[in-house]
């Protein structure tokens, strides 16, 4: 199988000019991340200057609380996209896991045990359904996760009997989804950021993590080096399922109900957009979970800012889409220039 990298990847030049590391960072594959980080900074500073309440502890807590679930989902999605896939089923898994958690808690399972079991359920669904079909049988990730999203979302509705469950009495879920450490730091956000850092470490320092990049870079070569087997691909969907499982409990804590439609397809597409915004490339192999974090943070700050200025959802749709387009366009231009220089 001939894999011709569709994008002439960045070459550091025939003459082998050795660039300083920080220049390489700015013009290299991390460029989109730094660009979005810069934009984020601009928006934050602008908001701080023009909007006195933006920096208030309650607004920051609000921002962080709102971001926790998307960030968790983005971590899982990043892993999947790094291998060159997409997980459209995260919403379905989230819905189903939320109902499973609620059913367990209502049946008297201790909440902490229920939490662990829910995360495991998410991982098992991702690994056993998507992972097996994509990694082992080689089916298209798009079709598989599209279909499993439908199946799992349907099962969530059936199992719940189309009902929401009142979970306001569940202290653990509330802690995860709602409560703050001090007045500023929601536990959920802490967990989300810890997950990002953990994922970053795993991606950098473990065989599994490097295999994820290798598969995204060139699946065949990774396989022929013994690191790109079905198991790694399956595991990536397992991780994304686990993230969705954890997110489902956070969502319950935030909403104080378990809702069988909690994970909609639009949440999933939002998560994909956030992941792709700052340098995780859709073809896999390039980008980092920190970039994904920055992309999500940017979208969140943006909608916070737009909402407070009275721009409604429609404006947010337009601006988000436009920024995504500009981001991929500029990235393409950067790669072209890099290829020409090389």
């Amino acid at each position: 199988m001939t894999v011709t990298p569709s994008v002439p990847a960045e070459t550091s030049g025939r003459r082998g000019t050795v660039q300083r590391p920080w220049i390489r960072h700015l013009t290299g594959s991390s460029a989109p991340m730094f660009a979005v980080a810069g934009l984020l900074l601009v928006v934050v500073v602008f908001q701080l200057v023009t909007e006195p309440n933006f920096g208030s502890s309650s607004n920051i807590a609000n921002l962080l609380r709102t971001s926790a679930v998307p960030i968790l989902l983005v971590v899982g999605m990043t892993m999947v996209i790094l291998t060159g896939g997409i997980d459209l089923s995260m919403g379905g898994i989230l819905s189903l896991c939320g109902i499973a958690y609620a059913k367990m808690v209502i049946a008297g399972v201790p909440t902490s045990l229920a939490l662990v079991l829910t995360v495991l359920l998410g991982a098992a669904l991702g690994f056993g359904v998507n992972g097996l079909l994509i990694g082992r049988f080689g089916l298209s990730f798009f079709v598989v996760t599209l279909a499993s999203a439908s199946v799992l979302g349907g099962i969530a509705l059936l199992w719940s009997g189309n009902r929401q469950f009142d979970m306001s009495g569940d202290g653990l879920a509330r802690a995860l989804g709602n409560d703050t450490l001090g007045s500023l730091l929601p536990y959920g956000a802490i967990i989300a950021v810890v997950t990002v850092v953990l994922a970053g470490l795993v991606l950098r320092y473990t065989i599994f993590g490097r295999s994820v990049y290798a598969i995204g870079g060139n699946q065949e070569a990774a396989q022929l080096s013994g690191v790109g087997g079905a198991r790694v691909i399956a595991s990536v969907y397992g991780v994304s399922g686990a993230c969705a499982g954890l997110a489902s409990v956070m969502m319950i804590g935030r909403q104080t109900i378990a809702d069988p439609t909690a994970g909609s397809s639009s949440i999933v597409l939002y998560v994909v957009a956030a992941t792709l915004l700052a340098g995780v490339t859709i073809t896999g192999g390039a980008g980092s979970v920190y970039g994904a974090l920055i992309g999500t943070a940017f979208l969140q700050v943006l909608s916070n800012a737009l909402a407070l200025r009275g721009f409604n959802n429609s404006w947010q749709m337009v601006v988000t889409g436009a920024i995504l387009l500009v981001a991929v366009y500029l990235d393409r231009v950067r790669l072209r220039l890099a290829a020409r220089r090389g």
Partner: protein, 518 residues
Amino acid sequence: MKATNRKTNSLLHLRGITKRFPGVQALDGVDLEVRSGEVLGLVGENGSGKSTLLKIAAGHQNADAGEIVLDGRPVSLAGPADALNRGIALIAQEISVQPQLTVAENLLDGRLPRRAGLIDWRRMHRQTEAELRELDLDLSPHTTVGALPLHQQQMLSIARVVRRRPRLVLFDEPTSSLTADEVKHVYAMIHSLRAAGSAVVYITHRLREYFDLADRVVVLRDGRTVATREIAGVDEQELVRLMVGREQVQIFQRPAQKDHGDFESAALRLEVRGITSARLADIDLDVRAGEIVGVAGQAGSGRTSLAETLFGRWPYSGSVRVAGREVRLSTPRAAIDAGIALVPEDRKGAGLVLSMSVHENLAMASWRRTSALGVRRPGHERAGTTRVVRDLLIRTAGLDVPAVTLSGGNQQKVAIGKWLLHEPSVLILDEPTRGVDVGAKAEIYALVEELASAGLGVLVISSELLEVMRLAHRVLVMSNGRVVGEEAGARATEESITRLAFRAEGAPEPGSLEVRNT
């Protein structure tokens, strides 16, 4: 030489063509004249610039310098379409068909008969049927081309050019994936082209074909024209001498070395018994410690399939022992764990993750060895990869630059080098020097020999007979998925190997199987 035929009927004259690729001077002032109605053989080793020259002549690539003179007038070709309009057609080395379309559409290549603006399938099929009959091709116009075997796709991609009767057809290794019958077929097409007054330029690695077809040959070496001869005035040995040139004979010179017999007492690294699969039939094979076994054969003879099967990529029946242990090669990982390493023929596609750094690529295959509980030990890894870069003289701007920035030869060294950290017992190299320049080639040969003498069993697959003969202590010849012959390295000659490979083509002689029961 060039003075003699200037006035007669020079169709195309390439003058002083120069082309440079990153790290390679592919063509360096090449002159080539083609006359109407002749078949001109273009001879040269791998990488000598033959394909590049034809691509320039057909408008697929632009020369850095030089002149293209057509019918006595200098022209500049805007692209393949322009060249085609001027009557120059290229049949590329790689098969180029549209797999989702039918035989008829591929054959007519966009010039589909239409009625009222719509494609007239009936007429198209009738027309195609007639043409296929005329071309003596046994294909149905309705078949989707992707469903055809590769050799038929190749025939088709030839036919769709030939049917247009261009004034000049440039054939780049048209026969490399064809059976003997089909080769005859191509001959017939060329004869009819010539009879119609068209000229042909022909490239092949089967030297005999030059003697069958060509009126004249032009020999390229290292991107330069080194000789032009009437075919009647040369023999095969002379041609090889011209191709290889003195200085290059050096690298193909076998060092005084142990021969096949010297390994009989060495430990068995690889024992293959009766391996059969969709593409292989009943293969037996031994490789001993320190031994380099070469595998030769025509394209499509099953060499790559053998390598890939031994690396756990395809289901098979039969048994394999590595270093005395029975192993089941169900996945590449299982093969790696068993001690087998493969350097695949498609380096960019399968050998390296080009977007990752040199360090990562070198370390990848041994991650599982160098890590503790799945966590990498960067210091440990770097010590290893630094050593490999130093030992293999890999020229790179650093360990952390992406592998895509390296030259072909250095990329190949990385693809080999990654196995050194893994310490396998069997190393399989599939076309180890494809697209690698002369200097790097010599370094790779030295490296392979060094690894063998360190006790590895090495299996080298190559389409370059000189390479096989240079490296192997023993040469196996494959055809149609079988091992059909064997020669001791010292005794192997280009001719003896080619004879083995060809004899098995067509009707398999029972004798061909006996050859390997030495």
